[in-house]
Symmetry: C2
């Protein structure tokens, strides 16, 4: 329990230490639950959410009112809103997570040694996961369910503007999970909106094993800059599409338009188009993008082909627009495209359109990003589209898990060694 | 190149930034080398080391003289010493690393999607690895070779007492690798003994992708406390052996003696023996350990069975002796053993001796350590004994790689997506 006799300045640290210790104990108990027990508990939670629609909508109404009073934008209010349809979506998401295969217990590989010992690497939960998120209350349920399905305890820290909604969702979830035999401390919500609690989570090495930030760039940047705990995240998605001279024009146009315009606000959206100087369809390709209403910012060679393009500045090549804006450049061959991506890419998702297999395979081998694509839209950068089920996020770090991270990325492994009395000579 | 016009206080930071940038460029070139090219270069380096024995021994002689002048202990001087035999050992080690299978390019798994896309996770080098080590100059060659074989550039920072030896080894290695077509900046040695250079490496997030400390506990503790870069390491090896009531007495005695006494100074050595109260051979087991000259520190129940045992204090259960000393306790059944290990273990290596398969499997499942063993000595906790070839270290963190870490742990993966023009609906 929280010791309230201490210096108030240390309260967030104590609060997180207390929650972390309870989470660690819950994780140990949760690691022993069967896949069926975890899935049944998630289905029970989905039923409980459906039954609690009025209470959740009422709590959300308080957040909506506060948000309007504070002058939140319409976009933020929309992200915050819960109604019966959205709560049904959350419940259905819990059920689809319940249906996913459980990675815990999977044997990654086994080594038989000449001395008769066998060694196996077996998947286990990571332990305690911290989720730091902003205004979407659905993260409360989705992230908790994914962490719990992989056997992890979770500490949730949502945005202050969604605190009433998050509390209501958390109470329903925690009670349903506890009724189904899951330790209540397996899913905890930080009860305070004090921003120092975020700092305490970021410093909680040993208490929290991994932190996943879910939200905008400023949140992710703060988490990456301050965290002493490993972070699974991406900061930018400055994604490139390189159209090689061998590209099929129909594929190039369809992929460029889809990658840029299907949804411009997601991290897998295209931001920079690189057209090979030897590609004969450059003019038509640029016209096809411009025809969708997308603003074009080009280098001189692009502007010679697309009169609607404005001049791109140096900054444009390093900008994630998340908007109907595309920077475009003409490049002299694959090496120049690879150089541009190495200099300006963010390691998220980069793609090539080409019919030349050798060029495409070179691109797939040499672009040093979490996801590299050939003749496919960058908008597929998503755990669901990859067939992984739900995702906890997309990671561009170099260790542990990269690209779309789903249940497997929420596990680690241990070595199990089985002998018959072997001693080391 | 290092800009020497700047404030001297920033020199180590600039030095590491410069080395990091050159390492990144070298890593990009190295990632494109074939396995054969990397292995051939390692064999060339082994030949070069053998040809350079006189120069290396001469450089080492300067370190040895400085060490004697500074009053280094005999143990430290022994770790520092290089002679023809030890250099031959280093060369042979490079050749054995050359012979290991190269993990780079391995396909971890492939997903075929209903829309015709295929997604593969392919192993790639991590990028730039930092190695911070103390007085053993062989680490200069071993760690460089392991990192390079897995396609990584490496920045080596050895102890000041071995600087002449490390420089001599590094020059031979770097020249041999460069002659074999490997970028010279793939293996760099921090040229200064300024301790601030270590701090600069620990802060070099984005320049160095992972740091491996190789040395004593104070070095590892500093690295873990200060690093902003992910660290692969273990701090303690407080390893337990639990002897269940069903244990075969011959196995229990052989394993306990081997685990404690084969080599007491390694991280896989046994530190605490837990004997089940229902195990009938406790007296003989304790006598067998004591007969090796090992000091016993026991709880009251142990002291009743082993008169030579002195009383264990609370501190003993949390102590890694790395010496012929063993703490021992009598526990009431497997749950008590699991509780003791959960409270006092360091997550390195814990073992059970039992003939009861169910109890053993429960132990393997529930002990939350990087390595859990059944009827085998904890001294097998070693990459070579696991059949992995050489190891870069043993890790007790929860992410990326755990237990003995060899070439695979020095790689990560990317997603390669191959389509035929797919766009996302």
């Amino acid at each position: 329990m929280l010791d309230t006799t201490k210096d108030p300045a240390h309260l967030p640290t104590q609060l997180i230490a207390d929650m972390g210790a309870r989470a660690r104990a819950a994780a140990a108990a949760l690691a022993r639950k069967t896949s069926a027990e975890k899935s049944d508990a998630l289905r029970a939670a989905a039923r409980a959410l459906r039954a609690a629609v009025p209470a959740i909508v009422a709590a959300n109404g308080k957040d909506m009112q506060s948000g309007r009073d504070k002058g939140l934008s319409d976009a933020m209010l929309d992200r915050l809103r819960l109604d019966a349809g959205r709560i049904e979506g959350i419940a259905a998401s819990l059920e689809s997570i319940a249906d996913l295969p459980d990675p815990v217990g999977d044997v990654i590989d086994t080594i038989a040694r000449p001395n008769g010992m066998t060694l196996s690497r077996v998947r286990i939960p990571i332990g305690v996961i911290g989720i730091i998120y902003e205004s979407r209350p659905n993260v409360t349920a989705d992230a908790a369910a994914l962490c719990m399905k992989a056997g992890n305890a979770v500490i949730l820290r949502g945005g202050s503007e969604a605190i009433e909604s998050n509390r209501a969702l958390h109470i329903v979830l925690a009670e349903a999970l506890a009724s189904a035999g899951i330790p209540a401390d397996a899913v905890q919500l930080v009860p305070t909106t004090d921003r120092a609690a975020v700092g305490a989570m970021l410093q909680a090495a040993g208490l929290i094993d991994m932190i996943v930030p879910r939200g905008g760039k400023s949140l992710v940047a703060r988490v990456q800059a301050e965290a002493r705990v490993p972070v699974l995240a991406h900061l930018d998605g400055i994604n490139h599409l390189y159209v090689h001279s061998s590209a099929d024009p129909a594929k190039a146009e369809a992929i460029a338009v889809n990658a840029k315009m299907r949804r411009t606000g997601i991290c897998g959206a295209l931001e920079t188009l690189l057209i090979d100087a030897a590609y004969p369809g450059a003019r038509a390709l640029l016209a096809a993008v411009a025809a969708t209403g997308c603003e074009l910012r080009g280098d001189d060679a692009v502007r010679a082909l697309a009169p609607e393009a404005t001049p791109a500045t140096a900054e444009d090549w390093d900008t994630e627009y998340l908007a109907p804006v595309l920077s475009a450049a003409i490049v002299d061959g694959p090496e120049a495209a690879l150089d541009h991506i190495a200099r300006h890419g963010s390691g998220h998702t980069d793609a090539i359109v080409a019919e030349d297999t050798e060029v495409a395979e070179t691109f797939l081998a040499r672009v040093d990003s979490a996801i590299v694509m050939w003749n496919a839209s960058t908008q597929f950068a998503d755990g669901g589209e990859f067939g992984l089920g739900a995702e906890i996020g997309i990671a561009t770090g170099r260790l542990h898990a990269r690209g779309p991270v789903a249940l497997e990325g929420l596990t680690t492994y241990k070595w199990q060694v089985r002998g018959t009395g072997q001693t080391r000579p």
